[in-house]
Symmetry: C2
Subunit: 257 residues, 2 copies
Amino acid sequence: MLKRKLLVIGIGAGNPDHVTIEAVEAMNRASVFFIPDKGDEKTELASLRRTILERFMRHDSYRIVPFSVPKRNRSDAYERDVDEWHAAIEEMHETLIAHELGEDETGAFLVWGDPMLYDSTLRIIDRIAAGGKIALDYAVIPGITSLQVLAARHRIVLNAIGRPVTITTGRRLAEDLPGSAGSVAVMLDGQNAYGDVDEDMDIWWGAYLGMPDEILVSGRLADVADEIREKRESARRDKGWIMDSYILKRRERDDPG
Amino acid sequence: MLKRKLLVIGIGAGNPDHVTIEAVEAMNRASVFFIPDKGDEKTELASLRRTILERFMRHDSYRIVPFSVPKRNRSDAYERDVDEWHAAIEEMHETLIAHELGEDETGAFLVWGDPMLYDSTLRIIDRIAAGGKIALDYAVIPGITSLQVLAARHRIVLNAIGRPVTITTGRRLAEDLPGSAGSVAVMLDGQNAYGDVDEDMDIWWGAYLGMPDEILVSGRLADVADEIREKRESARRDKGWIMDSYILKRRERDDPG
C-alpha cells in the first residue's frame, strides 16, 4: 500500500512573518492544503492562512481543500467533550484525506502556533494512522507560539533564573498555580481566570499578538487586572473574536515598587 | 541622548532552516553582529551563527564583532554563581556596545532557541538599559526552541488534553516532577537526571536536534534510560559537546503495552 504524505506545519501566531524557512520549504513540497473554513474558526484567521499561502508558495500547482470543523459540545465534562469532538473530526479527516489526497500527493495542514501545544491535529492524524484504514507518512514542522510572541513583545524571559515554567489553560489556572515554583504562562483563557488569582503577582498580557490590532498590558496583577478585563471585553466586542495569552510571575518580597 | 538600537534575535535550535522570516528581516536591519567566539560556546555552534548570516544577509554592509564570554563559576551556590557571572558579562557587554556600536547603528545578538527561555541575553540588556550609562532601544524576535524541534521530530503533542506542561532543568527535575500535573520538558540536563526518576513514565529524548547528527530515542523510561545514557555519553565523547532535551509524561494506568 502506498503511503499518503502529510505535513503538519506550524505557521506562527497570526503574523505571516512568524513563518520559518523550514515551514516555507515544507509548504512548497505540498500540493493539497486542507483549510478549515467554517465552524469554530474566525473568518479573519481563515483568510490569513490563504494570505500565507499566496505569499510563500513559489508555484501554482496546488489546491486548497476547505473543510468544516465539527463543533465541540460544551458541557461540564470537558475531557469527554473533547474526546467525542476528536472522534467526530477524526472520521471527518479520514474521509477528507481518503477522498481528496491522491496516493502520490503530499497534503498539508497549517496549524496556528506550534502543533505541539494545545492543538489537536497531531492526535487526530496519529489516530488515523494507527487505525490503519489509510496508510500515512507524516512529518511535523514547528512554529512560533503566541507565548513566544507575547514574551518577545514584552521583552521578558519566561523563567526566573534556573527556575521552571508551567504552561497551562485558564480552566486549570486555579489548580496549577499553587504548585508552580516559578512562572506560569496561560493560554486559552476565556474566563478571565487571572482575575481570581489572589497572590501578589506580575502579569504580562497580550491579545492579537504580532497582528495590527495587538494590545499589550503589563504590571502588578492587582493594579492592571481591571484594565485587562476592560480592554479584553471591548476588543472582543469590536472584532467579534479574541485570542490572548499571559504570563504570571510571583513578585519577590524584596521587590522594590 | 541618541538611543543605540539593539535586536535580540532567536535563531532556532541549530538548523538554519528554523529561522523565521521575521528574524531574517531583523538581521537585515542590523549592521553590527555581536558573536561570542570563545569561552563556553562550542566551536561548531559559533561557526553556525556565521553560516546563518552568510545565508540570510542580503547586503554586505555589516560587520561581526566577536567577544569572549566570561566563564561561570561552578560552586554549589548556583544562583549566586549565575548572579556574579551576569554582573561580569553585563559590564563586558556594556563596554562592548559603547565601543563597538555607533549611536546611529543597529546591533544584533543571535540567540540559540528563543531569548525567552533559559537565556541570559535579555536580562543583561535589561540591566544595561536600566543602569542608564548608555541609552538603548531594543526589540526581541522569537525563535524556535529545541523543545519544539524535539516534539516535532517525535511527532508528539507536549500537553495531555487540556493539561499543563512544566518546563524545567535537569537540576530541578527531582523537585518539579512530583508537583507537575501533566508533562515535563527538561532542558539543560548535564547530569542524566531522567535516570533518577522512579515513576512510570514515557520519555522522548533528542540530541543535536535538527542538525545532521540528530539522535532520537523514545519509549518507556525504565526500558530506554540506559540506551539514552549510552548514546548521550558516546556522542559527547565523539563530538566533544552535546545539546539535548527531553519530554516526560506519566503513563496512564490503563495504557496498553
